[in-house]
């Protein structure tokens, strides 16, 4: 299960590290380290982290099932391409 965090947007709130500690970890006070290819059984935890991230910085790949039903652009986490640190 692939994921990527937009670390420009991430503000180190550590919600993800709290909800999916096997995938996300804080490094120092504010830096986030994560495993870009998390184990499949982490999906539920990661989905919780995606939903709980205050800045919507986590993009989780769609499941094959999701891929079949082409999503609308705004339904996709992290898809909005706004600028800079926001």
């Amino acid at each position: 299960m692939r994921l990527v965090v937009d670390l420009n947007r991430c503000q180190g709130y550590a919600q993800c590290a709290f909800l999916a500690p096997d995938v996300f970890a804080m490094h120092g006070d504010e830096s986030l380290l994560y495993n870009p290819e998390a184990a499949a059984e982490q999906r539920e935890n990661v989905e919780r982290a995606v939903a709980a991230c205050p800045v919507g910085a986590i993009l989780l790949e769609l499941t094959d099932e999701d891929m079949k039903h082409v999503p609308t652009p705004d339904a996709v986490a992290g898809a909005a391409g706004s600028g800079g640190a926001r």
Partner: protein
């Protein structure tokens, strides 16, 4: 946005059955392809990439991967949606025929397009002496294969790692190696790490971080020669100050070169500084005329930015690749009146020695610096850069939640020094100091933002990369 009907139906035709070719199958290429499909492009989409891998993410290669928290082969980018593309991986594009709208591939194939997106990025600047660079144990870090090789070399437990060049990547590598307990020497030609990107004042903070974490930091020196043993393994490096460093792993981290050679002779405005494009991501040809069917995005692009005096900016930033790809894809499939400018405010992050470094704006334009909050010595601060009486950039060390505020200041060309006071303001924040960037005409390497003048051909403000 409401759907627009074009008068001649050409756009509808393109969307229904046109051919779009993307050269460079990495971050920018993938994100652009996703946006094209989102916008309803139903024609054929060809993704050409010289690496044999589907698009993967590079920033983890100098962070998680070296720390051992992730594996180089497992940083493939998640998909936002299915893109239903014809993937041509492991084969480079070798030429472009603009008149015939054809891309030539290394295997002799030719692919025709109605719209072309070029996202060929940059590559690591290699060690200038080829023979020395080929010694076993000498690495650069740009690709998954580089990352895998370096990961393996570190797993073998080197006695000393030498990092040549203390830009962001070099500093991150040094940091990860120290964290894993290896002896590390960093050799930097400039006066301090990160000096090209953030200036001398912040560079001094970075230098302290290196030293405090046990890095043997040598600044103001050049590595003049790498020496191998009879088995062809690197053994030592010789420095311009006459000293020698014994190291069994050497990472050459001297910045990047744009992947534009394949366009030589094509007539496109491409060269060592990248491919010049307008704010709408359309590439210029060598005559300075903007093309209407060739677009550019990501590290290989340089484009004028209204917020920064319309100078051409090249940004080696993850977020820029994502945002510019999105804009390019949108514009490729829009009538001219519906096109958007790429007006992204430059932003990047780096993580080193446990400190989160983030920046917005264009620090190298800054002439003055003011520590708005926190303190340099505590490595927790917000500093803003001033240029001609306005805020042009900001950098935070472990203080990133303030960054969106300062981004707004940059966007609104707010005055410098900022006329308000701030929480946690210290005496050092009472008066701006010179930001202390090296003279751009003096060679230094690793600025991840390059300013290159006002016209597609104008190159007077460039930073010349180091020749070691």
């Amino acid at each position: 946005m409401t759907a627009q009907r074009s008068r001649d139906g050409a756009l509808e035709h393109l969307k229904r059955e046109g051919r779009i070719v993307v050269v460079g199958a990495s971050l920018a290429g993938l994100r652009a392809a996703e946006t094209m499909r989102e916008k309803g492009f139903a024609g054929s989409l060809t993704m050409i990439g010289d690496e044999p891998y589907e698009p993967y993410d590079r920033p983890p290669l100098s962070k998680q991967v070296l720390l051992g928290n992730a594996v180089a082969q497992h940083t493939a980018l998640p998909r936002r949606r299915a893109i239903d593309a014809d993937w041509r991986l492991g084969v480079p594009a070798t030429g472009l025929d603009m008149a015939a709208r054809r891309v030539r591939l290394g295997n002799g194939d030719e692919v025709e397009y109605d719209r072309l997106l070029i996202a060929t990025g940059v590559r690591a600047r290699p060690w200038p002496n080829e023979e020395e660079g080929a010694l076993q144990g000498v690495f650069v870090l740009r690709t998954r294969d580089d990352g895998e090789g370096l990961q393996r070399a570190l797993a073998a437990g080197p006695r000393r790692v030498l990092v040549i060049g203390a830009g962001f990547t070099g500093s991150e590598i040094a940091s990860a190696c120290r964290e894993r307990g290896f002896d590390v020497t960093v050799a930097e030609r400039g006066s301090a790490p990160l000096v090209g990107a953030l200036g001398g004042v912040i560079g001094e903070v970075a230098a302290e971080m290196h030293r405090e974490n046990g890095v043997d930091l040598r600044t103001g020196v050049m590595v003049t020669r790498l020496e191998g043993d009879p088995a062809g393994r690197v053994r030592a490096a010789h420095l311009s100050d006459g000293s020698t460093i014994e190291a069994d792993v050497v990472v050459v981290s001297l910045g990047a070169q744009r992947n534009t050679e394949w366009l030589t002779g094509s007539g496109l405005g491409a060269g060592p500084r990248g491919i010049a494009c307008d704010a709408g991501c359309r590439a210029f040809d060598i005559r300075g005329i903007v093309t209407d069917d060739i677009y550019v995005a990501g590290d290989v692009a340089r484009s004028p930015h209204a917020l920064f005096g319309y100078q051409f900016l090249s940004l080696e930033h993850w977020g820029n690749a994502v945002a510019q790809a999105d804009t390019a894809a949108h514009n490729m499939l829009s009538e001219s009146a519906d096109r958007r400018p790429h007006l992204w405010v430059p932003a990047f992050w780096s993580s080193q020695f446990g400190v989160n470094i983030k920046s917005v704006g264009v620090p190298p334009m800054g002439t003055e610096l003011l520590v708005m909050q926190g303190s340099l010595t505590e490595r927790r601060f917000v500093a803003v850069y001033g240029y001609q009486g306005r805020v042009i950039a900001a950098v935070t060390f472990d203080n990133c939640r303030w960054l969106p505020f300062y981004e707004h200041q940059i966007e609104t060309t707010a005055p410098f020094p900022p006329p308000f006071t701030t929480v946690d303001r210290r005496p050092e924040g009472n008066k701006p100091v010179p930001a202390d960037f090296p003279d751009p005409s003096i060679p230094s390497h690793g600025p991840t933002i390059t300013l290159s003048g006002y016209s597609p051909a104008d190159r007077k403000m460039t930073f010349t990369p180091a020749r070691h």
